[in-house]
Each structure stands twice: as structure tokens, then as C-alpha cells.
Symmetry: C2
Subunit: 306 residues, 2 copies
């Protein structure tokens, strides 16, 4: 399959020097895709650390100044901060500049970009790299974070196709498998396989910790509980924003879960061992066939999805 | 702290030569706690394999014959098969014989033992070793399976205290931390931290796999989904039996989960970012402080719990 052309950039502007922004900066430089990185974070000490660690070359004093002179910009801020950031930078978006975000929800970002940027939304290609670490923050930035991972692009109708291709080419050159889909499909899919299970894990852990003897019960828990609740250790502000931004799809998934749970509990109440076993077996078989969406990083071409 | 005395047995009878029964046989011989293992499985080919693999020394032709001449017996059959097994062996329980099961639920087993064994229930010490593997069956039996794990004993009021001490001593000598509690406390605790999360993982996975585009959505899922759904790959017959045997406690946990989920969803619907964040943060902090119930196998003394 044909690879997308490897793009070349002069200057990367990173807004939000956390794990994702910092890792993108390191990866872009390591891959030789850009010559210079200008970075900005809301907290001056974070920007300073990013410069000291060599993650960025130049510290910018504002989001707007990080965009000035940059031909590629990554906005790697909490989901709820994307719209104000777009508002802050819109006056310095130059022809040819590629702007991306890295948020976990895409419909809200697409709508915000169209509202705030108007015709300049042609420059903004919403992106969601499916990568992360237990530990957040600039000090955990890692040039290999995106290697072998998926990135979802949800291009806007007004996007310049050439910029979408440059976006896909950049992520592919960092070792990502590039998928393209609509923001709506993205949000429905990730509500199902990421956002709702996070809500469910938070709710489950909360129900245990708050019950009488809950703490004692948890002292008895083993590896199943450990793995099932791992995602309930996620960062509160990140998940607050995602759950609010993708609320309707998450609530829809909750309805589906409640229906499935009702069905299994009905079999339990009826003592219908055979019906219960049938569903458990269907699930276990499907689960044991399922493989996580990583890939051998040999093959970095973009592919359309849905 | 005083260790319980290390007991000595002549002959171990294992009924159910699967992962748990086979591993117990290997561990007991390795620790020098018994001289001979007699094994029985419902399937003659399993018993034969256990003998070929050297897990058991003698293949018995019935559960009753596996008990004959044994001064320690482990019943390691599916939860629902415990009562018929007790019925099958009761005529050969000799004075001084220690009988244990290894099931994940304990109230049902305690009641079955009292009903079926009558005064012989003095010999039966219900046990639940918190150990397992992804792979079941005699071919995965492992002498180290119980090392560093917990075992819960739920002694019956009629138990001979000397036999309870021998039971505790045997598990401790295999490297287990021995906990004692009532069958009711055991079932409430494991409903909360094991049985209900299994039901929830099965229900969640089922709700995703059965929805339109569910399979495509799962192609996009990553490590969070992988860990959250790992326990939905458990063996259908095992979980069917556990969910039915501990139904009331599991349904009680489901009510608690639904209440916690309702609360979080209420904050989402109201757009109450601050209340949502507060709960997510409480959960994440508690989850990140929690440690699984393993222990350094240095210290094998039994401890009372609750």
C-alpha cells in the first residue's frame, strides 16, 4: 500500500506542554519532521521545565506567540480548554499552517473550531492519538509514545485536503496507524470502548469504597479487581471534561449496559443456569478472541475507517 | 508472631483434578506435607492425564474411593458440584480426616455440608484459595500457584478446632496467608470485589458486542478496555455457578453500583463539573492508594479477619 508522503515542517508550536504535547515535540524532532519547537503552557514553570528538559527550544509567553511563525501547531490542552485556546490563537493563523488538537472527544472540538475559527477552520484538523501513560506531565514525555499506536483524524468538511494529508503524514512518520472517521463516529466509538467504561469503573469503585466494610472488602481483592479498576485511577479533571464533552454518547452506552445487566440478572433471579451460561460463554469467547488495537509499526499507512 | 504448627498427612485425596486440585497436589508433595496423592476426576481421561503428569500417584475410580484411606481431602470441583460430591463421599469419612473444598462461594457450601454430612460436618473446613490462572485444566497445574496468595477459611461451628488448625497449617506451609471469617462475610466481601465485577464486565462486554458497529468499535479499543474486560474472558461454567450460588449478595452489589452510577450521571446531566470532579478525584485517589492482597511470603501465620 502507498504510504502518505512524509511532510516537512519548519517550526512546531506546542500549546500545552504535558505528556502528550511534550511527547509530540520530542517525537517530531527525533523523526526530523521539524527544525524548531516553540512551546507554551498556562503554568510558566511547566514551560520552563519543558525548555530545561530540551523538549522545546523556545518558551513562548502566550498561546498566540507559540503559533507565530509555526507551520504546524499541536493544541494539547484539557478538552474543555480547546475552545478558549482556539479563540486565543485565531489572529495569527497563517496560510499553510496546520493546526491539530489531541483531545479524546471530537464533536465538541469540531463545533468549537467552526464557531471560533470560521473560514480558518480549513486549517484545523482534529486529531486523537490513542496513547497515554499512567504518569502524566512533561517529565514523562517520551519520543516513542506514539510508536505503534493509532491516531484518529476527524477532518472537517472545510479542511484543505493538502493539510489533512500533511497531518496524516506527520503521525504516520511518528509510527502511528492513521484512521479517518467523522467526529460523530469517533465519539460514539470511544464512548463505547473508553469513556463509558471509565465512568463505570469510577462508579463501581465508588460504590465499593463507600459501603460499610468496603475498605475491608478491598483488602481481600486480587488481580481481577486490580485490572478492572485500573482505569478508575485516571486523572479527575481529564475525565470530568471528557464525560461532560461526550455526555450524550456516554449516557447512551450506560443505557445499553443497564439493559445487558438486567438480562443477566433476570437469568440469575430465575435460576436459569442454561441461559446464563449461554451469554457468559458468548462473551468469554468473543473477549478471548479480541486483540487490542496496536499494530506492528512496520506499516504506517493511513486507512479510512467506517 | 507464632506460626501455626506444620501438619503432616499420610494421604491426600483430590476430587477434581483441574488447575486448583492439581496444583494443591503438587504443592503438598513438594512441601513434604503428604506422602501419597490419590486423585479422581469425573472425566477418566483427566484422571489419567493427572497420573501421567505425576500430579497424582494413584487414580481412583470414584470420589468415594479417593477418600478411602485419605487423612486430607480437597474437593476442587465446580461450586454447583460440591453438594453431590459431599453426598458421594460421606460414607467413608473416617475420624481425624480433614475435608476441604476450594470454591469461590462459602455460604452455600457451609449449608450443603451441614445438610449432607450431619455430624460429620465437624470434618469439613470450607476453604477458598484466592489463586488462579488464565489457563485452567490439569496441564497448567503449578506447585507454586498458592505461594504468596491468600486463602480464606470459613470454619463451621461444629468444626473440630484441631482440624481447623491443621487446615490453616497446611495452607500456611504452602506459602498462603490464611484468613478466617464467617461464610456470610466471605460471600459479602467477594460479591463486592470479585463476583459482581465479573458480572459487570460480562454485561458490559455483551452490551458492546451486541450493538450496531460494536465489533468495529472494539477494533479501536486500547489498553483500558483490555484491562477492564479481562475478567469477562473467565470460564462460563465457573461464573454461572458462582453467580447463582452467591446471587443475593451479587444483586445487592448491583443495586449499589446503579446508585453510584445514577449519582455520577446526574452530575453529568446537570453539567455540574465541580461535583463530578470531586467524586472522580476521591475515587482516583483511593484507587491509586489501593494495593492488591498479595503479601511477602515470609510471614505465613494465619490471621483473623473481621
Amino acid at each position: 500500500m502507498a504510504r502518505v508522503p512524509r511532510p516537512q515542517f519548519q517550526q512546531l508550536g506546542v500549546i500545552g506542554c504535558g505528556l502528550i504535547g511534550g511527547s509530540f515535540a520530542l517525537a517530531m524532532k527525533r523523526a526530523g519532521l521539524c527544525k524548531r519547537v516553540v512551546g507554551y503552557s498556562k503554568s510558566p514553570s511547566t514551560t520552563e521545565t519543558a525548555k530545561k528538559l530540551g523538549v522545546i527550544d523556545v518558551a513562548a509567553e502566550s498561546a498566540l506567540l507559540a503559533v507565530s511563525g509555526s507551520d504546524i501547531v499541536l493544541i494539547a490542552v484539557p478538552v474543555a480548554a480547546t475552545e478558549p485556546t482556539l479563540r486565543a490563537i485565531r489572529h495569527l493563523v497563517q496560510p499553510g499552517t496546520l493546526i491539530m488538537d489531541a483531545g479524546s472527544t471530537k464533536s465538541d472540538v469540531a463545533i468549537a473550531a467552526q464557531k471560533v475559527l470560521g473560514p480558518l477552520a480549513a486549517h484545523f484538523v482534529p486529531a486523537h492519538p490513542i496513547a497515554g501513560k499512567e504518569l502524566s506531565g512533561i517529565s514523562h514525555a517520551d519520543a516513542m509514545l506514539f510508536q505503534g499506536r493509532q491516531v484518529v483524524l476527524t477532518p472537517l468538511p472545510e479542511n484543505d485536503p493538502h493539510l489533512v494529508q500533511r497531518a496524516a503524514g506527520a503521525w504516520a512518520a511518528l509510527g502511528c496507524k492513521v484512521l479517518k472517521m467523522t467526529p460523530e463516529t469517533h465519539d460514539a466509538a470511544y464512548a463505547a470502548v473508553s469513556h463509558f467504561p471509565h465512568l463505570l469503573a469510577f462508579a463501581y469503585f465508588h460504590s465499593v469504597m463507600r459501603q460499610p466494610s468496603g475498605r475491608e472488602f478491598m483488602d481481600l481483592a486480587g488481580t481481577g479487581f486490580r485490572d478492572f479498576t485500573r482505569i478508575a485511577g485516571g486523572e479527575a479533571t481529564v475525565w470530568r471534561d471528557i464525560l461532560l464533552a461526550n455526555r450524550d454518547e456516554v449516557l447512551h452506552q450506560s443505557q445499553r449496559l443497564r439493559t445487558a445487566l438486567d438480562r443477566l440478572e433476570h437469568f440469575m433471579k430465575e435460576g436459569d443456569a442454561s441461559a446464563l451460561e449461554t451469554v457468559l460463554r458468548q462473551v468469554a469467547d468473543a473477549r478471548n478472541r479480541w486483540k487490542p488495537a496496536f499494530f506492528d509499526a512496520e506499516d504506517g499507512e493511513p486507512s479510512s475507517h467506517f
